[in-house]
Symmetry: C2
Subunit: 230 residues, 2 copies
Amino acid sequence: MEELKYHYKYPHPSVTTDCVIFGFDGTKLNVLLVERGVEPYKGRWALPGGFLKMDESAETGARRELFEETGLKTGYIRQFHTFTDPERDPRERVITIAFYALVRISEVQGGDDAAQAGWFPVDNVPALAFDHDLILRRATDELRKQIHFEPIGFELLPEQFTMKQLQHLYEAILGVTFDRRNFYNKMLKLGILTELDEKVPLPNRKLAYLYKFNPESYSEMKEKGFRLEF
Amino acid sequence: MEELKYHYKYPHPSVTTDCVIFGFDGTKLNVLLVERGVEPYKGRWALPGGFLKMDESAETGARRELFEETGLKTGYIRQFHTFTDPERDPRERVITIAFYALVRISEVQGGDDAAQAGWFPVDNVPALAFDHDLILRRATDELRKQIHFEPIGFELLPEQFTMKQLQHLYEAILGVTFDRRNFYNKMLKLGILTELDEKVPLPNRKLAYLYKFNPESYSEMKEKGFRLEF
DNA sequence: TCAAAAGTGTTCGCTATACACCCATGG
DNA sequence: CCATGGGTGTATAGCGAACACTTTTGA
């Protein structure tokens, strides 16, 4: 029998973190899922996550998971909701603190984890374990809200990108289409992009300007009380 | 010695909910605090909160706390962040799921709780127990963000209110001042207010129109894809 | 020379803002 | 009759949305 070494006067729930890892493949918003190797929901796809250690904050725990699954040590990660339905885990009471992370698919290394992992378009995922469908939906909603007010989209693109790539990203996240010229103007007027000297040949087509996100000028604007709105 | 009846293979944190209860006194945004009767931080003011029961969701727990402190069974309540710093409680590992609630001060009954409770202006609270200063600050920030996109301010006012009261509320929350005429026009154009037939005499002055929030027309607009923006 | 995609500028309508006068009430 | 504060409308500027032509390159 297992040794039960930890004793409390009152019952305590288990606490986990789960992480919705978003990536962009140039066309669609994708999410990284892992296949469960153990019961319950063995063989089902699920969000990467795990138990919170007693000496780490939730964000530290979520970053640990992120690293274990993608090999990435930086990147945007944000806590967005804690899921606490008493029935959400069939075994015992488990509450989970949910995060979403934005990563560059190209920089992702296979996880150390033996678990099978894969990218899926967010609008076409298989049935997930536990309440992870709900968590994914909530994360997508939050990302959509967030991108109106914070320049987080750049975390999903290479450091240097074309305007068209950026437009596709916004369109994929928000589920709308923009007029190309208006999008260009609006983005440039925000003043948070730096135009690079180099141009890049598109897939056997002509040359396009490259841009990069300019965090300094964004911080500057934010300090001056500027409220980004896209 | 206490009886330790609950046993686990791995250590589990304690989980609490804390609730930032906002009220509006006509001039300033206020928060309900309770005085702690036990160590640690005995005698310090703190946010109402308590341990999550094993068979209730976090929101149910937070509503229970809300009722115990204010006697209110309805009202707006929203989870906004979970605080997990390992050092946030000096006794043991405690994570807290934080909510904010919006109530009408006038409807608040004294809590059943023996604890001393009181309203404080959010910009002038005493030093709080634990990390409750931080939680309060974060709640205020969230409320400010939220009120731009959701018609939640009405939860803080009487059912019937004058335009001036509504303006004062928005000004108190956002920390700005509005032009009276523009505020009137903007609010009325949103189409979520019903003008009542009755007028009310202001404090020994003339008569003013009364309005009430119209949730039906708001739901209708929301379904049509209208995005409220104030 | 033709197709595909990038770069660029103008017009128009709407919305946000700034602003002033009249009226009702109570003292 | 005077002071206080509520109710109302207009003029202007800035922003967002709609929109077309030219240029480059590879096939």
